[in-house]
């Protein structure tokens, strides 16, 4: 190894010799490192096996999207139908509207949720008394831990026609608002309640970013005569840029997941036109009507679109913000 002799034993040119030296010496390093670190590599094996079994193994089942699947006939015996399941789905007017509903609700949740979290974290950062700062941070974070099952029960009560919110609006002479039964209002109810429930998490992340900004930058800005607003727009927000991009990118990969738990527990047929999303439709179709192949087709389509969106967002994050996750 590294003797300047090629594999056949004949003398090699100096350039070739250098490359081979690097190759063999690099390989040697890897082998030596592995020799030292093999227990650590063994530690990762269970995680690798679990991921292979539970994340990659079930992907085999995706073939049912191209079959007329029946549990009795199994994967091997069910007849192949090509893209028939996809064609059938797109022939259904209910399905095509769920795509629009999903995108609308999901994107609105991402945009409004991100803006809300950024704004609140900036406001929170301006609070100087640490008790109040922690108090408000906790208050907005707590709803994040409550499941949508429970939250749906609470919301359907306080948003009812004779619920707390309408009673409050009534004080100001505002007419009763059918938050959960008017198709034009329902998507916004989903968006705002989701933002209210989840923006606390974003707030914590953004607040951590803001606190890590070097105070000397603000001090310099103050010396240059920058007021609070200018500091926010020209220091705080630009410095938060990479994290905002990261959070938005991660959220974008989930754009076809408009919030099954939330919507399933709060919607009803009367708001299907604007509130029925891919997941709720999929649930009714696949599980309640036992149409496994169609459910598989929707699931596959959703995964492919999510992967494309995620890749695009990663690409643009790198191009626009010079930010790389991987």
């Amino acid at each position: 190894m590294g003797s300047g002799v090629d594999l056949k034993g004949t003398p090699a040119s100096p350039g070739v010799r250098i490359k081979k030296e690097r190759y063999f010496s690099g390989g040697g390093r890897i082998i030596r490192r592995f020799g030292r670190e093999w227990p650590l590599h063994i530690l990762i094996v269970p995680a690798f096996i679990v991921t292979a079994i539970f994340s990659y193994g079930p992907m085999y089942g995706l073939i049912m999207a191209f079959q007329d699947f029946s549990p009795v006939r199994g994967f091997s015996g069910s007849p192949w139908v090509g893209l028939e399941n996809f064609r059938w789905l797109f022939d259904q007017p209910q399905f095509t509207r769920t795509i629009y509903n999903t995108l609308f609700i999901s994107i609105a949740k991402i945009v409004i949720g991100t803006l809300a979290a950024i704004s609140f974290s900036i406001l929170l950062n301006e609070i100087r008394i640490s008790f109040f700062k922690r108090f408000f941070q906790t208050v907005v974070y707590i709803p994040n831990f409550i499941s949508w099952i429970i939250m749906a029960g609470v919301l359907s009560t306080i948003l009812a026609s004779d619920g707390l919110v309408n009673a409050f609006l009534g004080i100001f002479g505002i007419e009763r608002v059918p938050f959960l039964s008017d198709p034009s209002i329902f998507p916004w109810t989903m968006i705002w309640t989701d933002v209210w429930k989840t923006f606390g998490f974003g707030t914590v992340v953004y607040l951590a970013t803001i606190t890590s900004i070097d105070p000397e930058i603000y001090e310099s800005a103050v010396v240059d005569g920058a007021g609070k607003l200018r500091q926010i727009f020209f220091i705080t927000i630009p410095m938060m840029g990479p994290i905002i991009v990261l959070m938005a990118t991660l959220a974008l990969g989930n754009v076809l997941n408009a919030g099954f738990d939330q919507i399933y527990n709060l919607y009803s047929p009367v708001v299907y036109s604007t509130g029925d999303v891919i997941d709720t439709y999929l649930f009714r179709l696949g599980f309640q009507n036992a149409r496994f192949s169609l459910a598989g087709a929707v699931g596959l389509m959703r995964s492919v679109v999510s992967m494309i969106l995620m890749s695009l967002s990663l690409f643009f994050a790198y191009k626009v913000a010079n930010y790389k996750i991987f």
Binding site: G74, Q92, Q94, G153, A160, S181, S268, P269, V270
Partner: protein, 553 residues
């Protein structure tokens, strides 16, 4: 060294315990074919026979200390009487269908299993049969089942047809407790109703006036309870001569349109009349503006218990559904009592709707070797639960059916007498009226009688269920019997599981639910119904109608 000795000792202990456990069974049972004994259904096998089953139950089973799912009064009974060892490979309440599907995909079918109509896709029976995975039970049923079990085919010849292919029987229907439990009634809150002078409810207008009186005089927030699935509302349709059930279960209520063609209830003009009336109810405030969020076991029930509504169209078992809760939360006269649904004519009650009531089917794997044993177990269970010839005292029976334990008599083997509740109702009512309990011959009768007495004598809330179902002359079964006696009954023509073709139809239920809600809320006029119906037909309704006509006409 100490560790090694410890592990050696542990291994020895395990080995001994395994050997000891093996020694407990004197003669191991077999799953191989065993020649059934000559004689009646209750003649025991000479050689122990083993049946491996699965069951859609379990979490609600109760066992005495030391008992288990595979060792309890019922399994001991099979062993003692028939020399048959029943073993459950697994039991589960939630996810039974998924687990069964997994067993099917893995080619690991148990000997015997049930296909409950409510949990398992009803098309599964046809798929299993056509794939050759089910055992032909025709001969075993004819030779080894008790006369009582075989007689069910005489009482209800149609139900078993659903599980007969080319004249061969591949499944034993589990049947039902009697068609008497099918018609729904209008349940009204007793104390409010009596405070209004117990008016006779003969017409729809009478019912509406009662609902308004409850709102005006008793603090009800709205008049008539409606749930998110619209089932409570759809079951009021017979008042307008319309018929429809739970759309999600494909209960469209199929009947002849007069030309020999079977059509769903929603396709008859009377359904549009019902829609117009329901929209009027909503506009008049008789229906809650949040009806689309009323879960049957959630807000919908809470409104009943909290006094926000005093009228509900529901099953005959309302007393179990809400009886004890409302008595606890309101007062002992706040429970609801059943009235027959009024009819627009006012001259008679509305017809009682009877849907396909069979609750499932018992099947056996094609590789199962002892179908005679299955028939014997089914017959023994029936004998214990429903036969007037059960040679057991009430105390003996209590051993098997005390709180919760009756469920260990599993769906995998239980065939219900399709006349059970009709017979039970007459015997229990007779005993309550005369005090003569000598004719209470089944465990069910005993419990219904005792529970009714508990309410009548001591106002014990747990007794309300039985009392309201059959314990007095105005009970739900009394109301149903009145309908049956006068032939005011309408049966669906789809007397069997939905045909396999239903799977090809689209989201037909979604269309109905969405559009009916829009009409009720006044967002669309009821006159739009014919065009909505066209949409329903275009998106799969036609497939369903053709299939029903092909299989059930």
């Amino acid at each position: 060294m100490k560790k090694r000795i410890f592990f050696l000792a542990l291994a020895c202990a395990m080995l001994f315990s395994v050997i000891a456990a093996c020694g407990e069974s004197e003669t191991p049972a077999t799953r191989d074919f065993v020649q059934p004994p000559a004689g009646n259904w209750d003649t025991p096998y000479d050689t122990p026979v083993r049946i491996l089953a699965v069951a859609p139950e379990g979490s609600n089973w109760y066992f005495a200390e030391g008992d288990s799912v595979n060792n309890n009064p019922w399994t001991r009974l099979y062993k003692d009487v028939l020399n048959i060892e029943v073993e459950f490979e697994w039991t589960t309440v939630d996810g039974y269908a998924e687990r069964l599907n997994a067993a099917i995909v893995a080619g690991n079918l148990p000997d015997v299993f049930a296909l409950p109509y409510s949990d398992v896709d009803p098309r599964l029976f046809g798929e299993l049969q056509s794939a050759g995975l089910l055992l032909d039970l025709t001969d075993a049923l004819a030779q080894y089942a008790s006369p009582r079990i075989r007689n069910h085919q005489v009482v209800d010849p149609l139900t078993i047809q659903g599980y007969t292919v080319n004249g061969r029987i591949y499944g034993i229907p589990r049947y039902y407790y009697g068609q008497i439990d099918q018609p729904w009634h209008m349940w009204v809150r007793k104390d409010w109703y009596e405070a209004e002078g117990s008016p006779e409810i003969k017409t729809v207008a009478d019912l509406e006036n009662l609902a308004k009186a409850f709102m005006a005089n008793h603090g009800a927030a709205y008049g008539i309870a409606v749930d998110e699935n619209l089932q409570w509302l759809f079951r009021t349709a017979p008042m307008f001569d319309a018929y429809v059930g739970n759309i999600h279960n494909n209960e469209y209520f199929w009947r002849d349109d007069g030309t020999g063609r079977l059509k769903p209830g929603i396709a008859f003009p009377e359904f549009q009349t019902a829609l117009e009336n329901w929209a009027r109810w909503y506009a008049d405030g008789l229906i809650s503006p949040e009806f689309m969020l009323m879960e049957e076991w959630g807000r919908g029930k809470e409104d009943l218990l909290s006094g926000r509504v005093g009228i509900q169209c529901w099953w005959q078992w309302w007393g179990w559904y809400s009886g004890p809760d409302i008595v606890a939360q309101q007062n002992e006269d706040a429970y609801f009592i059943p009235l027959n649904l009024p009819h627009t004519s006012g001259s008679r009650p509305a017809n009682g709707q009877v849907f396909y009531p069979n609750i499932g089917v018992i099947v056996a794997s094609a590789e199962f070797n002892n179908p005679a044993a299955l028939m014997k177990v089914i017959s023994l269970l029936d004998h214990m639960m429903f036969s007037p010839d059960t040679p057991m005292t009430m105390d003996d029976l209590a051993e098997y059916i005390e709180e919760g334990r009756e469920h260990a008599m599993t769906a995998a083997f239980q065939v219900i007498d399709p006349q059970a509740d009709m017979i039970q109702y007459k015997h229990v009512l007779h005993a309550l009226e005369t005090g003569d309990t000598s004719e209470l011959f089944t465990a069910g009768m005993m419990f219904k009688y005792n529970d009714s007495r508990a309410w009548i004598d001591n106002k014990e809330p747990h007794g309300l269920g039985a009392f309201l179902q059959m314990g007095f002359n105005g009970s739900a079964y009394a109301r149903s019997q009145h309908l049956f006696d006068n032939n005011w009954i309408m049966r669906t023509a789809m007397w069997g599981p939905p045909p396999a073709e239903f799977a090809q139809a689209g989201s037909t239920g979604d269309i109905i639910m969405e559009e009916v809600m829009q009409i009720i809320m006044g967002n669309k006029p009821a006159s739009d119904w014919p065009s909505i119906l066209e949409q329903w037909y275009a998106q799969g309704g036609q497939i369903k109608e053709d299939a029903v006509n092909q299989h059930f006409r």
